[in-house]
């Protein structure tokens, strides 16, 4: 029944059935990511986007289906798959540097790598600061650096910029675009912001209000770096909005 994995596919998420109690949230959902591809997942809240991400990250074993990385079932959290949460989720008792290196054993604490990461996310010199001293945007930058510390191939992000103000959000989006390009990351981004999806992704996947396969897919064939004002995106945005309306109308 299930089509075989393409040779080129890096991450293959196939969820036959995921339910909370008796309520099904995901059914027959299949999502395949090619190496270096940036995919956005949009849909109404409660449609199972976050559940899908949690399963892909290996945090939720209670589902029927499989998550395969290069054809191998992951069966749990995998160092090659990083996850950035909606909130920074930094450990308040650890310094910024210790938070970044949290994913690696203490013996592997590599301060040169931490400094390089801090520079990469624009927080040079903040290594000794405590999370309480950071703004929301800075904290999310540290969370991104922590996600990158273990050098994952795939980065999953769960509405990572939804809790910051509009200007900070744009700067964080630019940061993510740059980091993903430089590191050739494969990215799966859950968002409810169509502009964000258009700005960042190669492909936009729309999930319906009821459990089932993806409702629609949009390939975003805009050149990079993209301008936020680009008109070519406007037509597609209208199409996505139409699809969203259709999904809600069902």
């Amino acid at each position: 029944m299930r089509e075989t994995t393409n040779l080129g596919t890096l991450l293959d998420i196939a969820i036959d059935d995921k339910r909370y109690g008796t309520r099904a949230v995901l059914q027959g959902m299949r999502l395949q990511l090619d190496p270096g591809e940036i995919v956005s997942l949009i849909g109404a809240s409660g449609c199972g986007k976050s559940s899908l991400l949690s399963i892909a990250a290996g945090l939720d074993p209670h589902y029927r289906g499989s998550v395969r990385l290069r054809g191998q079932a992951t069966g749990g959290p995998n160092p090659e798959i990083g996850l950035i949460f909606q909130e920074p989720r930094l450990f308040p008792w650890l310094s910024v540097a210790q938070n970044i290196a949290f994913g690696a054993p203490a013996a592997a604490h590599d301060s040169a790598r931490i400094d390089a990461l801090l520079e990469e996310v624009g927080l040079s010199g903040y290594g000794d600061a405590l999370p309480k001293q950071l703004s929301g945007g800075q904290a999310q930058r540290v969370a991104l650096a922590r996600g990158l510390y273990t050098a994952p191939r795939v980065l999953l992000l769960d509405e990572p910029f939804s809790a910051v103000d509009a200007f900070t959000r744009m700067r964080l989006q630019d940061l993510l675009a740059r980091v993903a390009a430089e590191r050739r990351l494969t990215v799966l981004l859950v968002t409810h912001d169509i502009d964000e999806a258009l700005y960042l992704s190669d492909r936009i996947v729309l999930m319906g209000g009821r459990p089932g396969p993806a409702r629609a897919e949009f390939a975003v064939e805009l050149t990079r770096p993209r301008a936020r004002t680009e008109l070519a995106g406007a037509a597609m945005k209208a199409a996505i909005l139409d699809s969203l309306h259709a999904v809600h109308a069902i």
Partner: protein, 276 residues
């Protein structure tokens, strides 16, 4: 608390407004005790309060000086040692059992109901039984103090670990921490505020139970001084002992408070000094 070399805006403490023009560092908390001492001294000197029931502060000071030359150090040492030993035993046991109960569901189902039942017993009710079982030497006193210290610490550890934010635990799982590493790197640090509050409450209860234990049967210690003062109708000795208990309790609590402040400097709260 000190900020690293870079100027981080959030780290600067908000300047405190001087209250009623009083300079910031003046120990305002000493004002009331000083006034009370002054009033007591005047009341006794003018004869409006009988000196045998309420000796003047100056007389209590003289008694303290006299006691200092007649074995006060021994009394202080026995009391402090009892508190230290009893508190250490009770708190250590509570830390271990509390962590076990909070981390292992099986242990919780097995142990917690019994601890809750034992906690419901007013701890002083153990005194007669302890005296019967262990006689009147050190053992029953230490056990009583340990019981007093145990429950606040136990409750702090259990509620602290159980209250750890699920979202932080999820980060630990994402980075594939083994159960022991998860406990050490996530659960225990996150539970530390509640644990320290439990330790602080446990310590103050340890002082309380030390006095109770010494009132009943002791030949050394501040509780013994209280009994001795009552038997010889010496209010000055009793008050001297009470003053010393107040000072020791306050000193040990301040040490715990300083420890708390130091260990929890990472907390994002502006209550520093509120309990000092």
């Amino acid at each position: 608390m000190e900020t690293p070399s870079i100027g981080l805006p959030a780290a600067a403490p908000a300047p405190r407004r001087p209250v009623l023009g009083v300079p910031r560092r003046l120990p305002l908390g000493l004002l009331l005790p000083a006034l009370a001492l002054l009033v007591a001294e005047l009341a006794v000197r003018t004869g409006s309060v009988p000196a045998n029931l309420m000796p003047a502060p100056s007389e209590i000071a003289a008694t303290l000086a006299w006691l200092a030359e007649h074995g006060l150090a021994g009394h202080l040492a026995s009391s402090c040692l009892r508190v230290a030993a009893g508190f250490a035993c009770g708190a250590l046991l509570a830390l271990l059992l509390g962590a076990l109960v909070a981390l292992k569901p099986h242990a919780a189902r097995l142990l917690d109901p019994s601890f809750q039942a034992l906690r419901a017993i007013p701890s002083l009710a153990w005194v007669p039984l302890l005296l019967l079982w262990f006689g009147i030497d050190e053992t029953p006193k230490l056990i009583l103090i340990a019981i007093g210290a145990f429950f606040p610490v136990y409750m702090g550890v259990v509620s602290g670990i159980r209250g750890v934010d699920r979202k932080l635990i999820e980060v630990g799982r994402l980075y594939r921490l083994a159960p022991l590493a998860l406990a050490r790197r996530v659960l225990l640090p996150a539970a530390l505020p509640a644990v320290l509050t439990g330790l602080r409450n446990g310590l103050s209860l340890a002082w309380m139970f030390m006095v109770a234990a010494e009132l009943i049967a002791a030949s050394q210690g501040l509780g013994y001084l209280l009994t001795d003062g009552r038997e010889s109708s010496r209010a000055d000795i009793m008050l001297a002992a009470i003053v010393l208990l107040a000072l020791l309790g306050k000193a040990s609590d301040s040490v715990m408070g300083a420890l708390e402040k130091r260990l929890l400097a990472w907390r994002d709260s502006d209550v520093t000094g509120a309990r000092a």
